[in-house]
């Protein structure tokens, strides 16, 4: 009887680890292509120019942060009239943190333009694969593409150090 209990306990433990492995491996690590990122940017531009904040924030990794960046960028009046220019693109690598968490990698589009109030902006539009998103697994950080935010990875110990000036366009 004692042996049977031990066997059952071992089976439960193995099943638990297997379940965790399934959850962990369900994340898609395939690189985000420039085409995929640009397609999301085009959607964002269309929603922004239609002043459809709800649809715009559906593209975002976080709706709360999306709404804040919209307000912080002076709301509807600051929506750019023209689509942004993609001045650079690069892959932000995944960072595995010491506590076992990971900071996801993805594709960054570096965007420049002028907002609806005439202010130049430079924003890093970050597209990554998220198992939680309904958009073919893709989600965007800094979907308010005129907000002027950059994107960074945390340090390996999980801390994030400030002290980096805003990415600014070169304005004469």
């Amino acid at each position: 009887m004692q042996v049977l209990r031990i066997i059952i306990a071992v089976v439960i433990i193995i099943c638990s680890f297997a379940a965790i492995s399934v959850f962990a491996s369900s994340e898609n690590n395939e690189e985000v292509s420039v085409e995929e990122a640009t397609s999301l940017l085009n959607q964002a531009v269309a929603y922004a120019q239609a002043r459809d904040l709800a649809k715009l924030c559906e593209l975002a990794s976080s709706k709360g942060i999306c709404r804040h960046q919209w307000e912080d960028a002076d709301g509807e009046q600051a929506v750019p009239d023209e689509p942004p220019q993609i001045v650079d693109t690069y892959l932000l690598p995944t960072v595995h943190l010491k506590n076992g968490d990971k900071a996801v990698g993805g594709r960054v589009l570096v965007l420049e333009g002028v907002d609806g109030l005439g202010k130049p902006y430079r924003t890093e539009f970050f597209v990554f694969r998220s198992g939680d998103s309904g958009l073919e697994g893709l989600a965007v950080t800094n979907v308010i593409y005129w907000c002027g935010y950059g994107i960074r990875q945390p340090n390996e110990d999980g801390t994030m150090t400030t002290g980096h000036p805003n990415p600014r366009p070169d304005v004469a």
Partner: protein, 281 residues
């Protein structure tokens, strides 16, 4: 960042500002001269070409000074602070062309103290198989204040977290602490929230920091069960934790604002963390 008055104004009646006028006192003359020098050094004096006689100096609260062009319209408001005390806060209304200085141009809002955003970053999503957190921050520097010894920096740090199926989100926490390697020495100026914020249901909370009469605000959603803050004696060190119990797909927000002063021409650098906790029940 918006420069809005925070949402807990208790008495919006304009108050008479003249009784706070210290322009003709020794400290008033000194502050006006220092202000003109700073504006000139930073190239902000080109609009009005002011000299110190064109400025008015007010001591709004003990030790809180406001220096503004004489033509600026200033409205005083009595504002109830979150700790229950009442403090006077000025709102500077930019002068119109008809009352401009020296008959030249309208007074530029650049000449009143204002917050300048010097950094704004988001971090890539931090996640594991149970949940995730997205966090961003912005740092603002107060420009044009009258303190000859210190510069003022404000940090707004905010995040959204959620759990993944079948887990439940139990807490999400943000912290900041002075980076000892690179940062100038910090002294506390202000922080928000001032106290724990229980939340029986979801609502909007407006965070606000006011320095030299200039307010920065941040609106966040706060939901059950609430926020639990830790404010440390160590200047610049702060934590805010959302706590509760929600299922996957439900996002929760947490945010805070801190303001420190550093020796003039120094820089405020923080180490930030963002964490969350999930469980099956």
């Amino acid at each position: 960042m918006s420069t809005l008055l925070v949402g807990y104004v208790s008495a919006a009646n304009p108050l008479e500002i003249s009784k706070y006028d210290i322009t003709r006192t020794n400290i008033g003359v000194q502050l006006a001269q220092e202000t003109i020098q700073r504006w000139t050094d930073n190239g902000w004096n080109s609009n009005c070409n002011c000299n110190f006689n064109d400025l008015e100096v007010y001591e709004i609260n003990p030790g809180d000074y406001l220096v503004a062009p004489a033509s600026a319209k200033i409205k005083l408001q009595s504002v109830r602070q979150s700790d229950g005390s009442v403090k006077l806060e000025p709102t500077i209304v930019t002068g119109s062309p008809s009352d401009s200085l020296l008959g030249t141009e309208a007074v530029s809002p650049m000449q009143a103290p204002y917050w300048l955003e010097v950094e704004s970053w988001c971090f890539a999503r931090v996640q594991n198989f149970m949940g995730w957190i997205d966090n961003c921050y912005a740092i603002n520097k107060l420009i044009g204040e009258t303190d000859s010894q210190y510069d003022y920096y404000e940090l707004t740090h905010y995040a959204t977290a959620a759990s993944k199926y079948p887990f439940r989100l139990k807490w999400a926490q943000l912290t900041c602490r002075r980076n000892t390697q690179y940062s100038s020495t910090m002294l506390w100026k202000d922080w928000y929230p001032k106290s724990d914020q229980p939340a029986p249901s979801c609502s909007t909370i407006t965070l606000g920091i006011t320095v030299f009469g200039v307010t920065l605000s941040y609106a966040s959603q706060i939901c059950t069960s609430g926020w639990d803050i830790t404010k440390y004696d160590e200047a610049g060190r702060f934590a805010n934790k959302w706590y509760g119990n929600v299922g996957s797909g439900t996002e929760r927000e947490v945010a805070y604002m801190v303001c420190v002063k550093v020796p003039q021409n120094g820089y405020a650098i923080w180490d930030l963390t963002a964490g969350y906790g999930c469980s099956l029940i």
